[in-house]
Symmetry: C2
Subunit: 240 residues, 2 copies
């Protein structure tokens, strides 16, 4: 199952150049950045870092899928974000060198990333005033997303939130297949529950209902959205 073949650096370049963070880097500068980073390979269900580790590195995912999650004192998990190749994560140490990671970064399949020591990365950026601006822009967007999701969690019914989560995942990692749009990652009922503040039982019951109506098709850790428009209706509270 493991595809532990390490990607050669040559293959990383196009991935980095697609990353929003590096969008106005020249090819030469990109290579410089690339050389300064350390490739990391992590197997499924292992961690790039865990909540409470010193935040000494920041990462850009180059292959796989990563879940950023927190655990509560009594052991419940909450998934805050899913990372796909090209996205940055673990950047907190950039501004707060003494900080600990407030989340864990778990590979939900075998994954690879480039890692930079925060100090090294900070120096790489210092010559490029645009980068901190881009970083601020990314943070701003994420703040907005978190605010939206906070509002949804505070005001919407479980069914709407789960439908919304599916649409968000489809937008981020949807892949067109025969029957509709596949959410292209291993996605258990449990995971989706941890993304939406509900339980695996409720997600399972919703899936059963939606599948009966032909809105989605599901399998073990697999969801295909057949009628996205129907999910939108559910989100808007038009379908009961």
């Amino acid at each position: 199952m493991s595809k532990l073949s390490v990607l050669p650096k040559a293959d990383l370049l196009p991935i980095l150049s697609r990353a929003a963070l590096f969008r106005d880097f020249s090819p030469g500068e990109l290579i410089e950045v690339l050389e300064a980073g350390q490739p990391r390979c992590i197997e499924e269900s292992s961690f790039f870092f865990q909540q409470g580790d010193p935040a000494s590195r920041l990462y850009v995912l180059t292959d796989g899928r990563v879940r950023l999650s927190q655990v509560t004192v009594d052991g419940q998990q909450v998934i805050l974000r899913v990372i796909v190749p090209g996205q940055m994560f673990g950047a907190i140490g950039l501004t707060q060198p003494e900080a600990l990671y407030p989340v864990s970064a778990e590979a939900s399949e075998d994954s690879q990333a480039l890692a930079w020591e925060t100090g090294v990365f900070r120096r790489l950026c210092e010559n490029r005033p645009g980068v901190s601006f881009d970083l601020m822009g990314m943070m701003t967007s994420y703040i907005q997303e978190m605010q939206d999701r906070y509002r949804e969690l505070a005001t919407e019914r479980t069914e709407q939130r789960v439908a919304r989560a599916l649409l968000r995942l489809a937008a981020q990692l949807g892949r067109k297949v025969e029957e509709g749009v596949l959410v292209d990652m291993a996605l258990s009922r449990q995971s989706l529950a941890e993304m939406t503040g509900t339980t695996l039982y409720t997600v399972s019951r919703l899936f059963s209902k939606w599948e009966r109506r032909g809105v989605i098709q599901t399998g073990r850790e697999r969801v295909v959205i057949v009628k996205p428009h129907d999910l939108v209706q559910i989100v808007e509270g038009l379908a009961e």
Copy 2:
């Protein structure tokens, strides 16, 4: 009731210098920043800006209290944040000049702020590389707070969340009084419900219970925390 006396600029200086954002500005630079800003006075329950307005300015509150909130399509409010003097708000336009404010900024009492055109402010910062770093640091902290609150909303019971909200408010705007720590703002059951994703009825019932036990004392839009430690126990789920 209105204290519409405008603060003279001389009084603004010490407030600005307390603002985290300007902490390493020299007095001369601070005056320059101050002169570039426009003072704004807003009466209770009016708005500095509303959700959907073009994000053309950013603000630092100099007097009063401001609630940052979103409204849902069906009219429910969610309060995301309370702003006290010295804090910045509405900074989204700084990185995304075309953006619209994603929240409304409502004065919960007569309030005053300094406002800068985003373009002007950006130019003020360009000479000072430290500022964008400080801004990033503030954003990072806020992201962490939102993540924590998201987790709490997703996993904790209503009673715990309301207790937590009180402790947060006390930390931000607590004032020592005879009986304990007063949450120093007009705080209705409704507002607290909008901060914690519950209803005014449930908050009222919790207040009644806690008051019976002597944990808090309440009045109309007024809360005094008598036994903070008991609230901490409730947060930790030790007291039912």
